[in-house]
């Protein structure tokens, strides 16, 4: 597919990633889904060797030094994999757990953690959510208290993707009693540190090949040098990091939706009821045309975000809109495509059922739909004024 966004080099890159997904991910998906985990070290090393894990990061750390259009292609192509688990784990590595480190980490910290993450030697995870605070990030309770030249971390993190295999976490913790967002800092926490443990792996509705875990921190000592950016800036840095997470998630979502709609078209061409192919029912081809229109509109919003992001603009409002629409639309696409598959949409031997389960995450993970609505409303200045006490 040629387009005004992508040139021949992009296209060659897309073909390479597509082939990688078809040969290194898809054939293993059944096994990984059953096992409840995919082998991140093995897969990431292969990707690191091909230069896929640090496309937008500086070349001095082993990155590709190119703009986000390449990352767009990577996300679009992995978003078409036969299960959403491995792509989520990959996106955590490239777009969720490392952007703040790349932008605000010290040179030493980047050499120690970013470079091996780009090479595929270390697996990263992003540890923000907690049992008591998901949507309300400012309500986290994990503490990092100063102890000599170090910090001692205590608390618990929940829903952490790559959680059982990660070599290091990008972790948000409180560093002062100041209320709200000012008292937080972002850290790189190696998981071999004493006092760190995986409490348990969670059994989930979808993304079954992705390991999601509860993590515990009991006096985990990390040097001050492991802090990303200044103390007290953690919340701000994480809010920025969320933008890339949500953009990447939307791009994966769009290509996944399109793939499923196209699969449904093929199915409806072949399946006959009442003496004609399903697709010949106006209700069905109109519905599909409608969904393709919505997906295309979302893709263009996402591409608009990519352009803003590359230009260094604040993308918060637009990315929140794209993520919100992506969550809502993927539920609609999954539901409609399953419906047109009839019973075949309901059995595990056909990919539809897995997609139905996997697609549900987008409205919850990375900030729920309602949180996106709150951000958009805030940017539009339509939130109710705070009442005086």
């Amino acid at each position: 597919m040629s387009s005004i966004y992508f040139n021949a080099e992009h296209e060659a890159f897309r073909q390479m990633v597509r082939k990688f997904v078809e040969t290194e991910i898809n054939p293993h998906v059944e096994e990984w889904e059953a096992a409840g985990i995919f082998p991140a070290h093995q897969l990431f090393k292969k990707m690191g060797n091909l230069g896929l894990l640090g496309l937008t990061y500086p070349e001095e750390y082993g990155g590709g030094g190119v703009d986000y259009w390449y990352q767009t292609i990577l996300m679009e192509e992995i978003g078409k994999a036969d299960a959403a688990g491995p792509p989520l784990g990959i996106a955590v590595q490239t777009d969720m757990a490392t952007p703040a480190l790349a932008e605000n980490g010290s040179d030493t910290l980047k050499r120690e953690y970013l470079a091996p993450a780009i090479a595929g030697d270390l697996v990263a995870a992003i540890a923000i959510s907690e049992p008591g605070a998901g949507s309300d990030v400012a309500g986290i309770k994990t503490w990092a208290r100063r102890d000599g030249g170090d910090y001692l971390i205590n608390g618990s993190k929940m829903w952490i993707t790559n959680g059982t295999q990660a070599d290091f976490l990008c972790l948000l913790a409180r560093t002062s009693d100041e209320r709200g967002f000012r008292g937080m800092s972002l850290f790189v926490v190696p998981t071999q540190a004493a006092g760190f443990s995986v409490s348990r792996k969670l059994d989930k509705l979808g993304h079954r090949s992705s390991d999601t875990a509860i993590l515990a921190f009991d006096d985990v000592r990390v040097p001050e040098a492991n802090r990303i950016g200044p103390e007290g800036m953690g919340f701000i840095l994480q809010m920025r990091q969320f933008q890339r997470e949500r953009l990447a998630g939307t791009l994966m979502g769009v290509s996944g939706m399109e793939k499923m709609i196209r699969r449904t078209i093929t199915y409806c061409r072949e399946r006959e009821t009442f003496g004609q192919p399903l697709i010949d029912n106006q209700y069905i081809h109109f519905r599909i045309a409608e969904l393709l229109t919505e997906v295309e509109a979302l893709r263009q919003l996402a591409y608009h975000c990519v352009r803003l992001y590359i230009a260094g603009e604040d993308v918060t409002k637009e990315v929140s809109m794209a993520k919100l629409k992506g969550g809502r639309l993927s539920r609609e696409v999954a539901d409609t495509c399953l419906q047109f598959h009839g019973g075949m949409g309901y059995v595990e031997e056909y990919p539809m059922a897995r997609y139905f389960r996997d697609s549900r995450l987008m409205s919850v993970g990375g900030g729920a739909d309602e949180i996106m609505l709150g951000i958009i409303a805030k940017y539009e200045d339509i939130l109710p004024r705070r009442k005086k006490a």
Partner: protein, 262 residues
Amino acid sequence: MKVVVCTKQTPSTTADLTVRPDGSVSWDDPGGKPNVVNPWDEYSIEEGIRLKENHGASDVIALTMGGDESQEALKTALAMGCTEAILLSDAAFAGADTLGTAKVLAAAINKVGDVQIAIFGKSAIDGDTGQTAVQTARKLGWTPLTFVSAITAVGNGQITVERLLDDGKETVTAPLPVVISTVKEINEPRYPSFMGIRKASRATIPVWGAGDLGVDGVGSKVDWSKVYALPAREGSVEIIDGDSVQQKAAKLVAKLFEEKVI
């Protein structure tokens, strides 16, 4: 020591072949995949690169005879790690049969100079004659080593390879220079890396024509007098019924004997 890899651009493995009533053929990929490096040639490209990595080859040069669009195949070869690529293209090469192709490839290999090993794929997935390698060897006057599944030693003016045959393996040693055709057991081809793709897309690929190679009248000795699609297979369905599963099974078995299926 220079190594040459000859590669053809072919339709993707998922492309469908259409033969029209007038005998003209076309390949179309339902998923819109572009043409690719002949899949069998990925193994030869990989082996060429390994000769550089493991056996001290100085250059690994990819050659393709074809139209302008074949540059893409050469860019893939460069992205994988070939050190150079040359497109052999000229109106005079159009419509070449395998012998014509061999003539052009041999002339190009001679022009490159100092080549000790020329590597080919087993066959091209479209033309699928598997003749080009041996015919090129004949034109060059070099030893052809076909169906090579491993290169075990290169040095002292000779090469030792393992050949994979229908009934077993054969180890042979031959004096250089040689023409090799590879089978898929020889290696696991690498993906072109991201950095490789970036470098390749900036490369300018030299084009050698008939004049550069000193060949004329390539043409074709083979005349494809008739090209046609096989008639579609006809089949019909017969539902076997009966009062019980046993009865149906017995009827089915009788029928299978009757039709000489078993």
